[in-house]
């Protein structure tokens, strides 16, 4: 199929349909309204179902029911709405249901604003809801990658029977870029039939009970052990990242994800023209975080600079990876303000000439 200029939100909706998802449950919230709007007219065209739920609480429990019935399903929201979904996310993880949740992040806390942000990193990567659980988290940096990661997210969700977040900042949702949907895309994994789904019990398989309740301590502990074993596999097999300029020499390693990494890439290129050597490591999977890659890449730098649209969240994972072997610096914008290439480049210069203070207790 030829390239098409699409808004990120629309590309996400189209990618989900092409991934075989015929069900969407959601609730309006800026800046992701183009996802439900797009699907409200597209899904009926392909025999799918769009439901505008009464709330994010409702929507997140509708995807629980639909996923439990064995169908591919997704929802999307933005930060405050994702907070409302956290109850369901915990239940989805506990009941091991495959769903895709798109969060087009806006600035917080509270109602905050409708402008871009990356301040839901903790919520997405460290659980968010109650109990010991993890969700896969994929962070696109372009409209094309948003579409590709949505397709991958459905495969990963089904394969691991786990919720998968696609975490985009506001720019990803609003920006238009060329996008191509590959007709010949192959599933990432061998996906087994969903014999565990509740589809009506005819006696030809064990009764399907979609559930996260285990009143017996030992049974629940075993369930937790099983979940942790699954997360360990995910941490081993599903790490994704890209490097830019990591092959040559560099003094500063920039770690940034999402569209911020693109801003840093422009900064890096401008700096290189001036003889200042920086390189970028862009985590694509935020859970699992590319700890090994960051550690190895940081070992060749004099300092590490983390750039985020937050007060500093991913920096904690970078600190874990670098383990105090290199000074770590931080540049973050909040409130919906963006990082500009000039700003990022200026920060790199400050790091190199000693004007930037390293962060020790992020």
């Amino acid at each position: 199929m030829a390239k098409k200029l699409m808004k990120g939100c629309e590309a996400i909706g189209e990618a989900a349909i092409r991934a075989g998802c015929k069900l969407f449950f959601g609730y309006p919230i800026t800046p992701q309204n183009e996802i439900p709007e797009y699907l409200s007219h597209r899904l009926p065209q392909v025999g799918g179902t769009f439901v505008q739920a009464e709330s994010e609480v409702g929507a997140s429990n509708m995807i629980y029911g639909a996923a439990g019935a064995g169908e591919r399903v997704f929802t999307s929201s933005s930060s405050p709405g994702i907070s409302l979904m956290q109850e369901a996310v915990s239940y989805l993880a506990g009941a091991e249901l495959p769903v895709v949740i798109v969060n087009i992040m806006r600035a917080g806390p509270g109602l905050g604003g409708i402008l871009p942000s990356q301040a839901d990193y903790f919520q997405a990567t460290k659980g968010g809801g109650h109990g010991d659980f993890n969700t896969l988290v994929l962070a696109p940096w372009s409209v094309q990658e948003a579409a590709d990661l949505v397709a991958d997210a459905f495969d990963l969700a089904d394969y691991y029977r786990n919720p998968v977040y696609v975490l985009g900042d506001g720019l990803i949702g609003q920006m238009m870029e060329p996008v191509e949907f590959r007709e010949d895309r192959k599933p990432l994994k061998d996906l087994a039939a969903k014999t565990w789904a509740s589809t009506g019990w005819k006696g030809d398989r064990p009764r399907a009970v979609i559930n996260s309740l285990y009143l017996d301590a030992d049974t629940l502990e075993q369930h937790n052990r099983d979940l942790q074993a699954k997360y360990a596999t995910i941490r081993r097999d599903e790490v994704r990242w890209q490097g830019y300029g990591l092959d040559g020499d560099y003094d500063v390693l920039i770690v940034a994800y999402g569209t911020v990494a693109r801003v840093c890439l422009t900064a890096m290129e401008e700096l290189r023209e001036q003889g200042i050597k920086a390189a970028i490591l862009r985590p694509i999977s935020l859970y699992p975080f590319p700890y090994d890659a960051v550690r190895q890449a940081s070992a060749r730098a004099r300092a590490v600079l983390v750039v985020e649209l937050s007060a500093g969240q991913m920096i904690q994972d970078v600190q874990l990876a670098v383990a105090e072997t290199r000074p770590i610096h931080f540049h973050g914008r909040t409130g919906g303000n963006l990082v500009s290439p000039d700003e990022a480049a200026a920060k790199v210069r400050e790091v190199l000439d000693g004007r930037s203070q390293e962060v020790r207790n992020a």
Partner: protein, 197 residues
């Protein structure tokens, strides 16, 4: 080579549409493109605007603080973005709705009265096409033929509108083109808006 530009005007003047058509045209020419609507603090101040990047290689930052070109469809847009344009860049001013001269002297200024031209063609709603044509003429960011093809596609179901809009597009292109030609023979004037990366 990278072209980056901000297109700004009142809501309804077609700034976002002009930006989209430039992005489409760039894409059809095989370039990498991004289109970012006013989303962020720059939304404040009564203008609708978008940032378009057209590049030979994958677009880095879709956020451009210092664009190489500005299309100011009205006065608030000029007030807001005049200082941000890169030295050596281009500002295209819609003088129908901008009643002051551009203060910057370190860049090239092209003035086109888009609304007046559209009115004179008997097509007041075609001011956006005049401005689009003028911007292409002033900057050369995309090939005019790609834009013509887009106009034909856009109005394919209303053939009557194809001709009037093409007319508006060409009128704008020529109005800007005359000034670019004049500028080209003036020693020391900035060249076309095509700074190398």
């Amino acid at each position: 080579m990278q072209h980056d530009m901000i297109i700004a005007g009142f809501g309804g003047q077609g700034a976002l549409l002009i930006g989209k058509m430039l992005a489409y045209a760039g894409m059809h020419q095989g370039k990498e493109v991004s289109w970012l609507p006013s989303y962020g603090p720059e939304m404040r101040g009564g203008t609708a605007n978008c940032t378009v990047v057209i590049s030979d290689k994958p677009v880095g930052s879709p956020v451009i603080k210092s664009p190489r070109a500005l299309l100011a469809l009205n006065l608030p847009s000029l007030d807001k973005f005049e200082d941000s344009v890169r030295p050596g860049g281009v500002i295209l001013v819609n003088t129908s709705l901008v009643n002051r001269p551009v203060r910057r002297t370190d860049l090239r200024v092209v003035s086109v009265a888009a609304n007046d031209i559209a009115n004179s063609l008997g097509n007041p709603r075609g001011a956006n096409m005049v401005a689009l044509g003028a911007f292409v003429g002033a900057t050369g960011v995309v090939d005019l033929r790609e834009v013509e093809a887009l106009v034909r596609d856009t109005f394919a179901r209303k053939p009557a509108l194809v001709e009037v809009n093409l007319k508006a597009l060409h009128a704008g292109f020529e109005a800007a083109g005359e000034q670019v030609k004049e500028a080209a023979v003036t020693p020391g004037s900035a060249g076309p808006n095509t700074a190398a990366e």
